[in-house]
Symmetry: C2
Subunit: 136 residues, 2 copies
């Protein structure tokens, strides 16, 4: 079924919406970034994920330094259009600047401890060198 | 492997962090809400998801009116501790106040059209009546 159109509600939170990045094959959630209307438009146009970096206050093409780009396979929007879910093919061994496939590699356990739930898939220093491609 | 502890960075975005809700069996992303430190603590304590509603400016226990509570199965935090991923067992036919299993039931297609990608799983008016339990 098709409906006419949807406008992403960028105004609700000062120009930004959270963008969940999910591996389209495994269903694993890889990371969360933020997008403004320009980065969202550029993501749609190019077919590769472009965030807005809150710390650097500018557009941030994921993979610009690492080569680990995120190819858009499907773009979803939630019921009140203030969050997007982007199902991707993630190029390279992982999206996390700490060397993991997913940024969500730590679980909080009920006893207060933190458990690393994944194995490292690459050495960050070999990909990013001194200049880390941090999250926004 | 265990590491010592992690502090969620609530200060980065004015006291709130985005919380991705994922079905722990299917891997489907069901919704995104926001949490402040109090709602996060209450989620950990009770084992059921409690958001902070930005529109109502107060804690919002998911399922408080619908009964569609979200039972926490695993709580993950990302690399820079400014987003959480909560893997849940979702009680009931769906989490979306519009009657869908997931709030992300619409895909944006490359031609600009919007496609409904899921079937409705319940009639919202039978669950929420006149008083809708909206997202935050």
């Amino acid at each position: 079924m098709h409906v006419e159109s949807v406008s992403i509600d960028f105004d609700k939170a000062g120009g930004l919406v959270p963008a969940i990045i999910q591996d389209y094959r495994s269903g694993d959630v890889l990371m969360l970034g933020f997008m403004n209307s320009m980065s969202f438009a550029e993501t749609q146009r190019s077919g590769e994920v472009v965030f807005f970096s809150r710390s650097r206050n500018k557009l941030w093409k994921k993979g610009e330094s690492s080569g680990h780009v995120l190819k858009v396979r499907e773009l979803r929007v939630d019921c009140d259009a203030d969050a997007v879910l982007i199902r991707v093919e993630a190029v390279g061994p992982g999206v996390c600047h700490e060397g993991y496939r997913s940024c969500f590699f730590r679980a909080l356990e009920s006893d207060g401890q933190v458990k690393i739930t994944e194995e490292r898939t690459f050495a960050p220093e070999s990909v990013y060198g001194q200049q880390q491609e941090k999250k926004a």
